[in-house]
């Protein structure tokens, strides 16, 4: 029996692009869902997200039972989880963007505005930049991926930083632990690099 892949639908702007990219990367059937029961029995779970931290967190929290289903399936039962962009940022303890908002608290840290190191560093961090893995990880290969963000994941625990990039200042490119991975870049917009990354996620056995 083939795996079920749940792509959580809370109205994120990149939902369809992520869906398209997963299919192109070799996913059989992707269930785009706002149903906690489907998430609670999925074999792999993907959380997209673009825009503001608070708006995404509120939209996710507004789906009755969704966060509880994610907690159970990902943290208690250990299925593979991928967060993308704000879907990655929401793993933090909190986000400071138009006020302070509570995150999921799965990966220690705070999401805060990127402080440009000099006047010629433009914010948002927009465009292709390095993915530099900190140590070996099954999913993360060195390469170039597309970033589009003005806020960054300030991770509390160095061991949970899986990859870095640089925009005048060092920035976290990926975080994770055990069966959980979050990436700041957009695999769904990173051409061959992104599709290869998603393919590795689909094959991943954490």
């Amino acid at each position: 029996m083939s795996e079920t892949i749940a792509l959580i639908d809370f109205g994120a702007g990149n939902l369809h692009s992520v869906h398209n990219a997963l299919v192109a990367a070799g996913a059989g059937k992707v269930t785009v869902t706002a149903d906690p029961e489907e998430v609670a029995r999925a074999d792999r779970i993907i959380l997209p997200g673009v825009g503001a931290f608070g708006a995404c967190r509120d939209a996710l929290g507004a789906i009755d039972g969704m966060v509880a289903a994610m907690e159970k399936r990902v943290r208690a039962e250990g299925v593979a989880f991928l967060g993308i962009c704000v879907g990655m940022q929401m793993l933090a303890d909190k986000g400071i963007e138009f006020g302070e908002h509570e995150g999921l608290g799965w990966i220690g840290g705070t999401v805060r505005a990127i402080e440009p190191a000099s006047d010629d560093i433009k914010i948002p961090h927009m465009g292709w930049n390095d993915v530099t893995p900190t140590e070996g990880h099954d999913l993360l290969e060195p390469g170039e991926a597309y970033y589009l963000h003005g806020y960054h994941f300030d991770a509390a625990n160095q061991a949970e930083i899986l990859a870095k990039t640089s925009h005048g200042v060092p920035l976290v490119s990926a975080v994770g632990r055990d069966n959980i991975v979050g990436v700041q870049f957009h695999p769904e917009k990173s051409q061959a690099y992104g599709l290869a990354f998603l393919n590795r996620f689909l094959e991943w056995k954490p």
Partner: protein, 253 residues
């Protein structure tokens, strides 16, 4: 390294068909924007820009359908401009798979649309498109309706205001240079780029690869947009990346 200089081909689309489009590859249907977008995706374009030049606003579904079909087969960032008047127009494009929307005339007549879009969907997707003509040395004025209608608004003041209202990027087009192949208006590009803290895309007038390099080194742009030098096979995206790297600028390999 650092974030790469982006090379952005721009396709003009009218009523769902490409105007003056790509002919550097064999295409089944040379007017199909999706097929042309795929050619640029395969060529390694850093982003793609669709400019919808359809005259009537009643035809929004056509460009939305183009974006949706493009997002099914292209895995690069796409900006869509032309006819975006409200936050709901922006939402429809973003949900169809656009990553950014460019707002032009509406941002002149009703600047609050910029903050509406930035607040609802984030600054990262809100591109303010600025069409300007020089009126005296060191001064430029905003023009709308394809560069035909003067507004009396100073381009630098407008650019700064767009950034203050929450735009995440400025697409700066010299209407004096557009279509001339004489190169970007570097003074215009640099004057605006140096005044704002958000990325600036240089646009209008590219005739060769040196113009792309100049846009960054002398115009201080973060991204370079061009149309005809790519569409007609004069240069590839890889040529553009190579030229940028040869000038010691960061570009993709």
């Amino acid at each position: 390294m650092t974030v790469r200089i982006r090379v952005i081909p721009c396709l003009d689309v009218a009523n769902g068909r490409v105007v003056k489009g790509v002919n550097f590859v064999d295409l089944q249907d040379a007017g199909d924007p999706v097929e042309q977008a795929q050619a640029y995706d395969a060529a390694g374009a850093d982003e793609l820009c669709f400019l919808d030049i359809t005259a009537s606003h009643e035809n929004r579904d056509t460009i939305i359908d183009v974006v949706r079909r493009t997002a099914e087969v292209c895995f690069m960032p796409v900006t869509v401009g032309g006819g975006v008047r409200t936050a709901d127009d922006a939402r429809a494009l973003l949900m169809a798979g656009a990553d950014k929307v460019a707002v032009n005339s509406a941002a002149v007549s009703r600047p609050e649309v910029v903050s509406d879009i930035a607040t609802r969907f984030g600054s990262q997707c809100m591109v303010a498109s600025i069409d300007a003509r020089q009126i005296e040395p060191g001064r430029w004025e905003i023009f709308t309706h394809g560069g035909r209608t003067p507004t009396g608004i100073d381009a630098l003041e407008h650019a700064v205001r767009m950034a203050e209202l929450g735009a995440g990027e400025l697409l700066v087009t010299s209407m004096d240079r557009d279509g001339t192949r004489d190169g970007y208006d570097l003074d215009l590009t640099r004057t605006i780029a140096d005044a704002v803290s958000i990325p600036v895309v240089a646009s209008g007038g590219v005739g060769n690869l040196d113009h792309l390099v100049d846009g960054v080194t002398r115009g201080h742009a973060n991204a370079v947009l061009a149309a005809s030098i790519f569409h007609f096979g004069q240069h590839t995206i890889a040529d553009a990346h190579t030229a940028l790297r040869a000038a010691n600028l960061p570009a993709r390999r």
